[in-house]
């Protein structure tokens, strides 16, 4: 329950309050107290250096491969007419089974005000699939815009390091505002307004059916992200992320934080798309020795890759226990 509450608070742009001293479990309090004054900057640097020697971006590589594979599956399926995965990311049939993107289906349901059985089947299938796989896993492991945006982010970070650009942050609550506005617009206008500007749909269709003028819009978004605000679309606008974030509330696939060896140096928060979910890695941020990262996390694994002390790991709730 606490996990769901914490996740919802973050999903809608609020900050989870730091646990008070009484809320800390005795075990984690001992860990925090034991660490005071123990680590020097040189120590952290040494651990970092050691980690870098064995640092292969394992999860990033797997994720990019998966993302490209899934999207190419759509393309190849149409190109060679093998009918494996028909349609695009907004709606598809996988070997004949209906799959409907939850956010697109929601827009259609609100605008059309009817819902046919096939769409319900598609939504339930997709809901169950992403519930099992992590919810926002869709964002980092499938969404084609995520990959382009990730590359744009590297460019942004490089330019920021050279002091050519500066990151401008927004209030994160704006994403929930967008979520409500786009739902209301679909309901009131009777048009699926968000689909007009959704880079996920635009890119997926462009890959499968050929490029169009709509790619200019995607290009503009990327330019904004490079020159003005890091990962702006995914962080502050995209309702798809909110939708799948809510699916992820019930997901067993999570990133687990273990406070024991953590140096609290914050390398994980620097690479994270949604760094607020990693606030628990700040000293005094976790209520217990082990705590799961909340549902707004896209399970991209960047923090797992970068953490010099392996304090962040993937876990599948239930399954990990069974394996032990």
């Amino acid at each position: 329950m606490r996990y769901i509450k914490r996740s919802l608070v973050q999903l809608f742009g609020y900050k989870v309050p730091r646990p008070t001293k009484d809320q800390l479990s005795p075990a984690v309090r001992e860990i925090y107290e034991g660490k005071v004054g123990k680590l020097s900057k040189a120590d952290v640097e040494a651990v970092r250096h050691e980690h870098k020697g064995t640092f292969f971006n394992k999860w990033q590589k797997r994720r990019w491969a998966t993302l490209i594979f899934v999207n190419l599956l759509f393309v190849a399926s149409f190109y060679f007419d093998v009918q494996l995965v028909e349609g695009s990311l907004t709606g598809a049939r996988v070997i004949g089974f209906h799959f409907a993107d939850l956010n697109s289906a929601l827009q259609v349901a609100l605008a059309y005000k009817h819902i046919v059985l096939n769409l319900v089947i598609g939504m339930v299938t997709v809901f169950l699939m992403w519930m099992l796989l992590g919810g926002r896993t869709f964002c980092s492991w499938v969404c084609p815009y995520h990959l382009l945006s990730e590359w744009a982010e590297y460019l942004h970070l490089w330019l920021a390091k050279k002091k050519i650009v500066k990151n401008h942050t927004f209030s994160r609550k704006v994403r929930s505002v967008f979520y409500i506005i786009f739902a209301l617009l679909a309901l009131l206008t009777g048009y699926t307004v968000f689909e007009t500007i959704s880079p996920t749909g635009i890119l997926s269709r462009a890959l499968i059916y050929g490029p169009g003028i709509a790619l200019v819009w995607v290009g503009l978004l990327l330019l904004v992200e490079v020159f003005y605000s890091r990962r702006a679309w995914c962080r502050y606008v995209c309702p798809i992320g909110v939708t799948y974030g809510m699916v992820g509330l019930f997901s067993p696939v999570r990133v687990k934080y273990n406070a024991e060896a953590c140096h609290h140096e914050g390398d994980c928060r620097k690479v994270c798309l949604v760094p607020h979910v990693l606030d628990l890695t700040i000293r005094g941020g976790a209520e217990d020795v082990n705590q799961d990262v909340a549902a707004d996390c896209t399970r991209c694994g960047m923090c797992v890759d970068v953490c010099p002390t392996d304090s962040l790991t993937y876990e599948v709730k239930g399954l990990s226990k069974m394996l032990k």
Partner: protein
């Protein structure tokens, strides 16, 4: 706002002026972002309001001749209809169409729907019912209504025949010629004609082709043909009304002229517009009416 909530019980100290200014800037930027993004997304309304998004739609599209709103609302923009079409007639609209982005349309002159899938595959593929499943047969569709827009250009009206490739050697469009290949559509350019009087719009009309097949089957005593007729009635009903006929006209100048007359059974598929050998087509599909709205 967030700061108030974020301050835990432990830390009651007020925000530093720097944090306050930062929070104010973030709020202002977020407001500007909201106005900007919502504004841009609503610009999609402009082409819709101007009526620039009216197109020939795939069979079964939830629309009336003048209102496509329901179709726009129900379409999930996935393109599954595009993928199943054997003649690749269906395309998806682009950003200049605003809210119409990703919505399927047909450019009949380039490639019309000739129902060569037989079973209305696009309708079956549609996951949201934007192409309504209430449709069973090609003759039930109401895409538009054909009209002889340039009677003077029409070869039949001039009493002329037609010889050669209907749309020239470079035309990429496909049609199914059952006498050539029952299952696979072939390029129109590979099927030249030699006609004493041009009747292409009638000859290639899918509704007329189906009516002829039904009549042939009905007239035949052949056992196999009888079986075929049952199959037709079950799987691909015989159209109840003619769609287009060629009738003689006499202008008193001694030339044998024929006029294509669009009949009540026309579904507006656009094959006549596609095959018409005259540039630009003498017969076109009007979107503002269909067989059901003819009277009004």
């Amino acid at each position: 706002m967030s700061e108030k909530k974020s301050v835990g019980k432990r830390q009651k100290q007020p925000l530093t002026p720097k944090r306050k200014a930062q929070s104010r800037r973030e709020f202002l930027r977020a407001s500007a972002l909201t106005v900007g993004v919502v504004g841009i997304s609503l610009m999609g309304f402009i082409p819709v309001m101007q009526g620039k998004t009216l197109h020939l739609r795939p069979p079964g599209a939830l629309k009336t001749p003048e209102d496509e709103q329901e179709f726009f609302a129900s379409c999930i923009k996935c393109g599954q209809c595009v993928q199943v079409c054997p003649v690749e007639a269906i395309k998806l609209a682009d950003l200049p169409e605003g809210f119409g982005i990703g919505i399927p349309y047909i450019d009949a002159r380039e490639q019309a729907c000739d129902f060569s899938c037989d079973g209305l595959q696009c309708v079956l593929a549609c996951p949201t019912g934007a192409l309504t499943h209430e449709l069973d047969y090609p003759a039930d569709t109401r895409m538009g209504f054909a009209r002889l827009s340039r009677p003077k250009a029409c070869l039949a009206m001039q009493g002329k025949g037609f010889k050669g490739q209907a749309r020239g050697p470079d035309y990429k469009g496909l049609l199914r010629y059952e006498e050539v290949d029952r299952w696979t559509p072939i390029p129109v350019s590979e099927h030249p004609y030699d006609l004493e009087i041009c009747d292409l719009c009638v000859r290639q009309c899918p509704i007329e082709i189906r009516i002829t097949q039904c009549e042939t089957a009905a007239a035949s005593d052949d056992q196999e043909q009888q079986v075929a007729r049952v199959a037709q009635q079950v799987g691909n009903e015989c159209p109840p009304k003619h769609a287009i006929t060629l009738e003689p006209v006499d202008l008193g100048d001694g030339i044998d002229r024929m006029k294509p007359i669009v009949q009540e059974g026309c579904v507006g598929c656009g094959v006549c517009e596609m095959i018409c050998p005259v540039e630009s087509a003498a017969i076109v599909v009007d979107l503002d009416k269909n067989a059901d709205t003819l009277g009004g």
